[in-house]
């Protein structure tokens, strides 16, 4: 029982991280139907930036977020203006296909570029609280894991409030429901898409911090994109509320599979779940039929 609780607690910690990882991807896909598979690479880059900021400026990784998130907002802004804006007027299926292909190219460029610049060595940010654990009912919970759960909650709630309580958030929701109708109502869809894409990319900063505290290398971007896609599909496409649920579900399933099939096939269980959901319930577990 003790080990079960222990493993499940790691599952929940990982799950919160998966939710964070998928958040930016889900926002962008929900608003403008861009399947940005480069998201994993952006998180990887954010981890590197956190690493360098902590290394040179001696910041705490969680403080480094205030530098990293705005930088990635700008990166998202530039990527949208340079590449993704051209796809905005395409019909939906073409839009998804082309954005998938372009962001796939970006994924390759970023991950290979990072390998060339910084080698494939594994890195991690070391802090005073790395490796420290909290003992709770015999379950050992690392402080970093706890922090990532709290971070995931704060970020997801903040995004939710932004979308539901602000005027601009209302415009974003309008565009995500029907781009043309929103335009007729006088919403500047170009601008809404630009800002939400930039926010989506900026959201890569938060999982970036958590991953920088664990170990990372350029290859991790493929894994992260993969996890983000799984959560996106589990949550139901474009459902932000479902993202945390989907992440936690994936984390729990992976943890449970450690018991059933061993650590070696932990990843496979998540992927099989993914394929099954894709085939039998493509609108997601909690999603509405589109």
């Amino acid at each position: 029982m003790g080990t079960f609780l222990q493993i499940m607690s790691y599952g929940i910690i990982n799950g919160a991280l998966y939710g964070l990882v998928a958040l930016g991807l889900s926002l962008v896909f929900g608003v403008m139907n861009y399947l940005n598979v480069a998201h994993g690479a952006l998180i990887m880059l954010a981890s590197y930036m956190v690493f360098w900021v902590c290394y040179y400026l001696k910041f705490d990784p969680f403080v480094a977020m205030i530098l990293v998130a705005p930088t990635f907002f700008v990166i998202g802004w530039v990527l949208f203006q340079g590449l993704f804006q051209r796809l905005l007027r395409l019909p939906e299926t073409e839009k998804i296909k082309n954005s998938l292909l372009i962001s796939f190219g970006i994924l390759l460029i970023f991950s290979n570029g990072a390998t060339m610049l910084w080698t494939a060595d594994e890195r991690a940010v070391n802090t005073s609280y790395t490796g420290k654990v909290l003992e709770l009912l015999g379950v050992r919970i690392p402080y970093i894991g706890l922090a990532s759960i709290v971070l995931a909650f704060i970020v997801i709630v903040a995004i939710h409030l932004f979308l539901t309580r602000t005027y601009f958030g209302k415009a974003i929701r309008a565009v995500s429901q029907d781009q043309e109708a929103a335009e007729w109502m006088g919403v500047n869809t170009n601008r809404v898409c630009l800002v939400s894409f930039a926010i989506g990319v900026a959201l890569a900063a938060f999982p970036g911090v958590v991953i920088a505290l664990q170990t990372f290398n350029p290859i991790v971007s493929f894994d992260l994109t993969n996890k983000a896609l799984i959560v996106l599909v589990l949550a139901g496409v474009g459902s932000l509320k479902g993202v945390l649920f989907g992440g936690l579900l994936l984390g729990a399933v992976e943890a449970a599979s450690v018991f059933a099939v061993g650590t070696a096939y932990r990843e496979v269980v998540g992927l099989v779940l993914f394929v099954l959901v894709l085939m039998f319930r493509p609108q997601g577990l909690g999603g509405r039929k589109r």
């Binding site: 051209r86 082309n98 998938l100 190219g105 390998t115 394929v275």
Partner: protein, 306 residues
């Protein structure tokens, strides 16, 4: 007629090269070009003609390689092991691939990516070791044989794709690519044609995998399942010209030469360059290098008529 002569001449040249220039380095490059061209065409049949973007062709490439290696090392001759490997790729496709057409559009892409990762991790766990060539097989190993086998498969693939593009089947596939709903509406059985396209594609990928297993002496069992074998054919086909007969061949030549040019200096620069060129292709040149050549020809013709 002129075109026929050109093709026959090129084929003769390709056959004669190894006899005239006894250069192992050149032979290695040409084997790689044949291998990548075959693999890219395999992706092209499904992605370029039928519009189903697969991100997991390594699955079928890897199975072709695995079965070929197993049969070859256990004493089956390579010309039997090669089609056997291709067939097993097709069988695997019918088990896991055809149901994947329940996933439409982008779901198909990420679904095939997931399948490729499942297989990669499984093979990594089940067969962690290195695959060696046994002494008996080493006697059969010669670059000459491999080159002619690779060339044969590559040329046969190009002709098959050419025939396909001229057939009713190919036209139906293009119709599905351009608008699946419209194709369905005018009476094309989209599921059937997608399955046929997938079968041809995986069969070719299996052949390419067999060539790889024949060519590479010693490698980890999981290497042909690596994600690169899914991504490279996509890049090659797109940059050369997806949905054309000659595009993937041109793409493969450029890819292998670039890779060779940079391999000695800077590892993976070729993927970086290809990534950039790929994005430009997707945005501005839907028919890749072939389309670019077509544009030049068109502008020249219009100038001449003026």
């Amino acid at each position: 007629m002129k075109r026929m002569l050109g093709i026959v001449g090129l084929l003769l040249l390709l056959i004669l090269i190894p006899f005239v220039l006894r250069n192992e380095y050149l032979l290695n490059l040409m084997i790689l070009i044949c291998l990548y061209s075959t693999l890219a065409h395999s992706w092209n049949v499904l992605g370029g003609y039928c519009g189903q973007i697969s991100l997991g062709h390594a699955t079928f490439f890897g199975v072709g390689a695995l079965v070929f290696r197993y049969l070859w090392l256990s004493g089956v001759s390579y010309y039997l092991a090669l089609p056997a490997g291709a067939l097993s790729a097709l069988i695997l496709a019918s088990i896991i691939g055809f149901p994947s057409f329940k996933m439409k559009g982008h779901y198909f892409s990420i679904g095939t990516l997931a399948l490729a990762m499942i297989l990669l991790i499984t093979v990594q766990n089940l067969l962690p070791g290195v695959s060696f060539i046994t002494q008996a097989c080493l006697d059969q190993y010669s670059l000459f044989t491999i080159y002619f086998l690779a060339l044969g498969v590559g040329v046969a693939t190009v002709f098959a794709v050419y025939a396909l593009s001229r057939s009713k089947l190919g036209i139906a596939m293009v119709a599905i690519r351009d608008d699946e709903d419209a194709a369905e509406a005018i009476g094309i059985n989209t599921f059937k044609y997608k399955v046929v396209s997938m079968s041809i594609s995986t069969l070719i990928a299996g052949f390419a995998g067999g060539i790889f297993a024949f060519y590479c002496g010693t490698y980890y069992y999981y290497v042909p399942f690596e994600l690169g074998w899914s991504f490279d054919p996509l890049l090659i086909a797109f940059i050369g010209g997806a949905g054309t007969v000659i595009g993937p061949v041109i793409g493969a030549v450029v890819f292998v030469l670039l890779k060779e040019l940079f391999a000695t200096h800077l590892g993976q620069v070729n993927v970086l360059i290809f990534g950039i060129v790929f994005i430009i292709t997707v945005l501005f040149l839907p028919k890749g290098i072939v389309g670019m050549a077509g544009l030049f020809r068109k502008t020249r013709e219009t100038r001449e008529t003026k």
